[in-house]
Amino acid sequence: MSAAKPKVAFYWCSSCGGCEESIVDLAEDILKVVAAVDIVFWPVALDFKKKDVEAMEDGSIAVSFINGAVRLSEQEEMVKMLRKKSGLIVAHGACSHLGGIPGLGNFWNKETIFNRSYLTTPSTDNPDRTVPLEKVEVEGKELTLPRFYDTVYALDQVIDVDYYLPGCAPPRDLIMNAIQAILDGKLPPKGAVLSPNKSLCDDCGRNESKPEKLVIKEIKRPWEVEMDPEKCFLAQGIICMGPATRTGCGERCIEANMPCRGCFGPTDQVFDQGAKFLSALASILDTDDEKEIEKIVDTIIDPAGTFYRFSLPSSILRRRRMEAIK
């Protein structure tokens, strides 16, 4: 007598679909997965509906993988429902883990985003200043849309999350290891990020090329210089988030000769990835002269958008002050 296969669900919030693709990129391995589990909900792929999930017993889904950040009311409702119906929730990918790229919306709010999309973009032709509404009557018919929030949330700011699969998108071996761990019942303590707890620099092939005392005299933007494919980016004066970023990605961007932008988030010991990187970067600037410091700091354009590229919603401050947005 064989045990019933564990039920698995996948769902996407404010997502690009890349995490769905990361499952597909398991390629042949996905067949092993499909053989071992029962996928009961996956809007992008399968024909199960919201009401099918509603009808399930609480806790009957063994694990739900949820990707995407939460920024619409429909997404909040769905993840709350999945929390009820699932034994485990895995935040899949940078958006649900940290807020991700959509998290950059936290420098703005609903009004500024709507204004841009529907009123001020040069190609938009909207003399009546129409904007999407939560409820509207069109030719006598009522149509509804979910509410768009001012703020983007990481998944654990909305529901209780058991594990995190980091990355944008998470690499294949991390996903397979996670699924295998779930099937084998060999998971780490709750709340773990399912990737080693060290920084990228530890695994990076360019680590050896760092001088004994790493200092930066001048910051360079990637387009300004020929980038040496063997040398540590920071040693070349190019901002690379490696020191403040968890390892596990295989240094894919570094291999393509582009600096890290931090999509895996920080290690366990860090609350706020952006602040930690700021600290590290400031520490290695090679000057003690106040005027020179101002000059170098001037060349670090967009510190917040660079250091919090993927992690703004999960940072300590979470978002720009609403009063400061015009």
């Binding site: 404010s14 997502s15 690009c16 679909g17 890349g18 769905e20 693709e21 990129d25 398991l26 996905i30 499909v34 996956w42 809007p43 992008v44 792929a45 399968l46 024909d47 509906k49 920024r71 619409l72 429909e74 991700g100 790229i101 950059l104 919306g105 703005w108 985003i113 999309s117 529907y118 973009t121 040069p122 190609s123 938009t124 032709d125 909207n126 129409t130 904007v131 999407p132 509207v136 069109v138 030719e139 018919k141 849309l145 979910p146 768009f148 944008c168 998108a169 387009w223 210089v225 020929e226 894919r252 961007c253 291999e255 393509a256 582009m258 932008r261 354009i301 967009d302 958008g305 590229r309």
Partner: protein, 490 residues
């Protein structure tokens, strides 16, 4: 009886642009009065790109879509080239074109076999359980199924190598790319390219055997329910041949005559976007005609993009084998332009063949391993437009920066959006054709899906390896909001 107001909700739509729902309203006779396809999603890229260094946008904008991130990455990189007034080196351009064609090839292949294809290959009336990749394999054979997975994996490995990662590539820089190709990999990837050409031809042969030789299918393709008369838009090279990476934008009217041809940077003179309060998506239309509403025919201002549109808007394919198939398609379907929406599937396979042939051409050129892959910009950045043909249509990235290259404004018109009016109209047309007298049947479900799937809307990714078809629930309420009937297709 009399005062009944019926509403049919299909929620969610799947294998479509992320989150979507369809609302169908019946009149007193039970015929479809109106149907709306609503897109309940928005993230705000145009706004939150503001304040970022412009060279970072090729790493931010791919997150608009994880299925076609390469399209955004390339359009963005081209826009950043324009902002810095710099051109890529010849080698960098070849590498970008290689990456781009590899991407087009694998993405189109994916859509046909896993997503849109099952409708055709297995048949619209086939049992739901068979309308998926497994059913396709059953029809075309295990060998082809294995080849689909293999050709996809190998093309994606080219992207993994040159761009860091295939989901959200990183290699684009103003004036070049960050990584070059060595001889060892040129030879290896050339094998992949040749296999891709062979496979694309195989796919077209399968299409011929399964669809074109079946009169019933051909009737559906040329039938009225899936026909829509619009204008067509696509990128063409200097000979007016289809080009995915670069060229001028050409628009032809409902009779196939050239209506406009313009440089990407002049897109604002030709394209405007209309807003409706019932959806988060906008509806592009031809500015010189003005918004005429959701209508088709010679008075329309609506145009379509993506495979069939590109072929309609061009004078031919740029590569020889693809050109043969282009001629065949138009001969079979009665000349240019073809308005039959289901022909998008055919055009898609022809494009996949051109992409594969282009890969071979690029990899046979030994200069692609040259070391000069960067032109360092020297001019002050200000404003630029980058346009590319995404698998799903014309993709426009427009950036304005301050003199330091910090983004002040962006405008993004994302491929699928150009088709949003046509998609909405196609759905309504299909609903009106198949729901009559209040009778809602299984057939409706299939036929409604088939109305939007040919457009291959952007979020269609996850169906790849799994059985599945669209989940459809149709709820029929009377005017007191009592559930009268429910039809399910699992």
């Amino acid at each position: 009886m009399s005062e009944m107001n019926k509403r049919i909700t299909i929620d969610p739509i799947t294998r479509l642009e992320g989150h979507g729902k369809i609302e169908i309203f019946l009149d007193d006779k039970g015929d479809v009065e109106r149907a709306f396809l609503q897109v309940p999603e928005l993230r705000g890229f145009e706004q939150f790109a503001v304040g970022r260094p412009v060279e970072e946008l090729p790493r931010i904008t791919p997150r608009i879509c994880g299925v076609c991130p390469t399209a955004h990455h390339m359009a963005s990189t081209k826009a950043v080239d324009a902002v810095f007034h710099v051109e890529p080196t010849p080698t960098a351009r070849k590498l970008r074109e290689l990456v781009y064609n590899a991407f087009m090839m694998e993405d189109h292949t994916l859509h046909f076999f896993f997503l849109g294809g099952p409708d055709f290959v297995v048949g619209p009336q086939a049992p739901a359980a068979e309308r998926n990749i497994l059913g396709v394999i059953g029809k075309v054979g295990l060998e082809i199924g294995g080849k689909v997975i293999r050709v996809r994996r190998e093309c994606r490995d080219i992207l993994n190598y040159l761009c860091g990662k295939v989901i959200h590539p990183v290699c684009g820089l103003p004036g070049g790319v960050s990584k070059g190709l060595d001889e060892e990999h040129r030879v290896q990837f050339l094998e992949t390219a040749k296999f891709a050409v062979e496979f694309a031809q195989f796919a077209l042969q399968a299409f011929d055997d399964i669809v074109l030789k079946n009169k019933e299918y051909v009737d559906i393709v040329v039938g009225d329910a899936y026909k829509m008369e619009t204008y067509y838009m696509g990128l063409v090279d200097k000979d007016n041949k289809v080009n995915f990476y670069d060229g001028d934008v050409r628009v032809v009217n409902t009779e196939g005559k050239e209506f406009a041809k313009f440089k990407p940077r002049d897109y604002l003179d030709h394209i405007a976007e209309h807003v409706e309060p019932w959806t988060y998506i906008k509806f592009p239309f031809l500015k010189k005609i003005g918004w005429k509403g959701f209508i088709e025919g010679k008075d329309t201002s609506i145009y379509r993009v993506a495979p069939l549109a590109r072929l309609n808007a061009s004078d031919g394919m740029a590569t020889p084998l693809a050109q043969e198939h282009y001629e065949r398609m138009y001969k079979t379907l009665g000349g240019k332009p073809v308005h039959n929406t289901l022909a998008f599937h055919w055009a898609r396979l022809i494009e996949a063949l051109q992409a594969a042939e282009a890969m071979v051409q690029l990899l046979e050129d030994k200069d692609i391993t040259d070391l000069g892959i960067r032109n360092i910009p020297t001019e002050k950045p200000d404003e630029g437009v980058g346009v590319i043909e995404a698998p799903r249509g014309v993709l426009i990235h427009h950036y304005k920066t301050d003199p330091r290259g910090i983004v002040e404004e962006t405008n993004l018109i994302v491929a699928t959006i150009h088709n949003s009016a046509a998609i909405s109209m196609s759905v309504e047309k299909a609903a009106k054709a198949f729901i009559k007298g209040g009778k809602v049947s299984e057939g409706l479900l299939n036929m409604a899906e088939m109305a939007f799937r040919p457009y291959d809307p952007c979020h269609a990714c996850g169906t790849h390896a799994l059985p599945g078809d669209m989940p459809l629930v149709i709820n029929i309420y009377d005017k007191d909001k009592e559930l009268v009937k429910q039809l399910k297709r699992d």
